[in-house]
């Protein structure tokens, strides 16, 4: 096998693989999606699971993170990373998070008592 042909062949194959992966992933990092300006409510059922599954919320740095959590029993809701705890009173109730998106990354909000994740919060640069 000719050396130059082999090198070009390997390079072309690898470029094709890279292009395939980038194209198959949509060629973007979902940067268009944002929950800024909305106030979604995450409802927790009696078993302690978020109705509809873990809610994904996406913001840009500098946006306002704003969402509510409705829990039918006494609990503590913890937004990790931002380290904000909210207490749900006996008998249940709704807590509201309203804070600036200052830290980039992926964070989870969970029910402390049930150790159950209810929100996946993404703050993009």
């Amino acid at each position: 096998m000719n050396t130059r042909n082999a090198i070009v062949g390997v390079a072309l194959m690898a470029v094709a693989v890279v292009l395939l992966i980038v194209l198959s992933s949509g060629g973007s990092d979902e940067s268009g999606k944002s929950d800024a300006g909305k106030v979604p409510t995450i409802v927790v059922d009696k078993a302690g699971h978020p109705v509809g599954g873990i809610r994904e919320l996406v913001y840009r740095k500098g946006d306002r993170i704003h969402f509510r959590v409705e829990v039918p029993f006494e609990e503590e809701v913890h937004l990790h990373g931002y380290d904000v705890m909210k207490e749900v009173p006996k008998g249940g109730g709704t807590v509201t998070y309203d804070l600036p998106a200052e830290i980039e990354g992926v964070f989870e909000a969970e029910l402390e008592g049930h150790k159950e994740q209810i929100v996946e919060l993404k703050v993009e640069p």
């Binding site: 470029v15 992966i21 992933s25 990092d29 200052e102 992926v106 989870e108 994740q117 993404k122």
Partner: protein, 464 residues
């Protein structure tokens, strides 16, 4: 099942996926570098000679003499003891307990990097080695002779370490992911596992000797020692010295089981990274399939993760073995077994690159906790403040997402270049004609490109 739990372990902040454009740039740089490397590759091996130069006897006595060995051993035993005590008696909250951060972040992630830079720094701090040597010294005093040991079966090589490595990672990312919780492994089972491993290790040391077991079977000595082969510094016959970087690695993989150790290392990190990204939907499907057939949620999750972890190990091994088999087809190639062992060391930089790329931010963030509130309040009781830092916290703004992405891509590209370089250098030893050597490296180039692009891909879909 949308609320399928996954181990997010200790850290409250996880990395965003690297953007597609950075993925494309990283992969393109890899290809350009590879093309360039093949075009201008050198024609004589450069890493076979260590060019060993010992430091002065006084410096060696201070750094690796017996007082330093005893002191470091005591520090290692003490810190390991604190971790076990905290795990057994401290808070169940993983992020507030000294045990998990110390064992799974400070030691597990810190030693590979420091070993690559400074040499085998784990060896003097190894708590089991220190305890084993102390027990041996006690035996000599009482019995008046050195303890007798069995001869270690050389065919076993480093296989016990490879199995131990997979078991350790399984404990962290499979066992710790179970139980329907949003956090990972709890401190108590981690401490119990550490005690079980300690009993096993000390028994093996009693059977085969402390140093022999550390060289072959003790998982952490072998694993951290593997990375120390990349660096400048080492100890030979009690003397500290320096050598040509990467030269020690060329002899590391001659022991059976070494290939499994380095492949387990890459596979472990890959699986941990893919669990929440590339493999997520496949894992969820398998989990649901098992759960629908009556297995409990915990059993389904552990079984699913175990299957995928083993598949990752098999997949990484298969890619390497395909590269080796390809090289065998080149004129003048040595035996397959020789090729398999002879090129395993070229994956060590890739393993280190994977480790840095996947855990860099975790290490930077969690070490802030280690040296503030975890140090002052190791049990996490909120009633202790040994050093006045118990109220400290983690500054998550210290690293921007851009900084993390650039470190990740730089680590993988650097690991790729070093792996290619070592492979080409070894090929020049096995093939007398440099043209045959270069031809053989098309196969290793494909292996390295596959691993690097796979690593970039994992980062691009993590936490998406």
């Amino acid at each position: 099942m949308s609320w399928l739990p996954f181990a997010h372990a200790l850290l409250a902040r996880q990395d965003l996926p690297i953007p597609a454009w950075l993925f494309a740039w990283g992969a393109s740089i890899v290809l350009i570098v590879s093309f360039f490397a093949l075009s201008v590759a050198w024609r004589q091996p450069r890493f076979e000679e260590e060019n060993w130069r010992p430091f002065g006897a006084r410096l060696s006595a201070v750094v690796v003499g017996w007082p330093a060995q005893v002191l470091c051993g005591l520090v290692g035993v003490f810190l390991f003891g604190v971790a076990i005590y905290a795990g057994l008696h401290g808070t169940a909250a993983p992020d507030r307990n000294f045990a998990l951060t110390f064992l799974f972040v400070t030691a597990w992630l810190g030693f590979p990097v420091f070993s690559a830079l400074l040499g085998d720094v784990f060896r003097p701090f190894n708590p089991w080695r220190a305890a084993g040597r102390a027990a041996g010294a006690g035996f000599r005093v009482v019995a008046g002779q050195a303890p007798a040991h069995l001869s270690y079966p050389e065919a076993l090589g480093r296989w016990p370490a490879a199995v131990g490595l997979l078991a350790f990672v399984w404990l962290e990312v499979v066992y710790g992911a179970s139980g329907g919780v949003a956090v990972g492994l709890s401190p108590h089972p981690a401490a119990v596992a550490a005690l079980i491993y300690s009993g096993y290790t000390l028994a093996m040391m009693a059977l085969f000797g402390v140093e022999k077991w550390c060289q072959r079977g003790e998982t952490f000595s072998v694993y951290f020692g593997m990375f120390s082969q990349l660096g400048w510094f080492g100890v030979r016959e009690g003397r500290l010295g320096r050598r040509r970087p990467f030269s020690a690695a060329t002899r590391w993989a001659t022991v059976p089981g070494s290939v499994a150790v380095v492949i387990a290392s890459i596979a472990s990190t890959s699986f941990d990274g893919a669990q929440d990204g590339a493999f997520k939907s496949a894992i969820e499907s398998t989990f649901e399939w098992l759960a629908e057939r009556g297995a409990s949620l915990t059993t389904s999750l552990r079984l699913t993760d175990t299957i995928f972890m083993l598949l990752t190990f098999a997949g990484v091994g298969l890619v390497y073995l395909l590269g080796v088999r390809g090289m065998r087809s080149v004129h003048g190639a040595p035996a397959l077994a020789k090729l398999r062992l002879g090129f395993a060391h070229t994956l060590i930089p890739i393993a280190l690159a994977y480790l840095v790329a996947h855990y860099f931010s975790l290490f930077v963030f969690q070490e802030q906790a280690q040296f503030t509130y975890l140090l002052s309040d190791p049990l996490g009781t909120a009633h202790t403040d040994l050093f006045g830092t118990a109220s400290g916290g983690i500054d998550f703004t210290i690293l921007s997402s851009n900084a993390i992405w650039y470190v990740q891509v730089a680590a993988l590209v650097t690991g790729h270049v070093l792996g290619l370089t070592l492979a080409h250098d070894r090929a020049l030893v096995y093939w007398r004609d440099y043209r045959d050597a270069s031809r053989s490296q098309y196969w290793m180039l494909a292996v390295m490109v596959a691993f690097t692009c796979f690593g970039l891909y994992l980062l691009s879909v993590a936490n998406r």
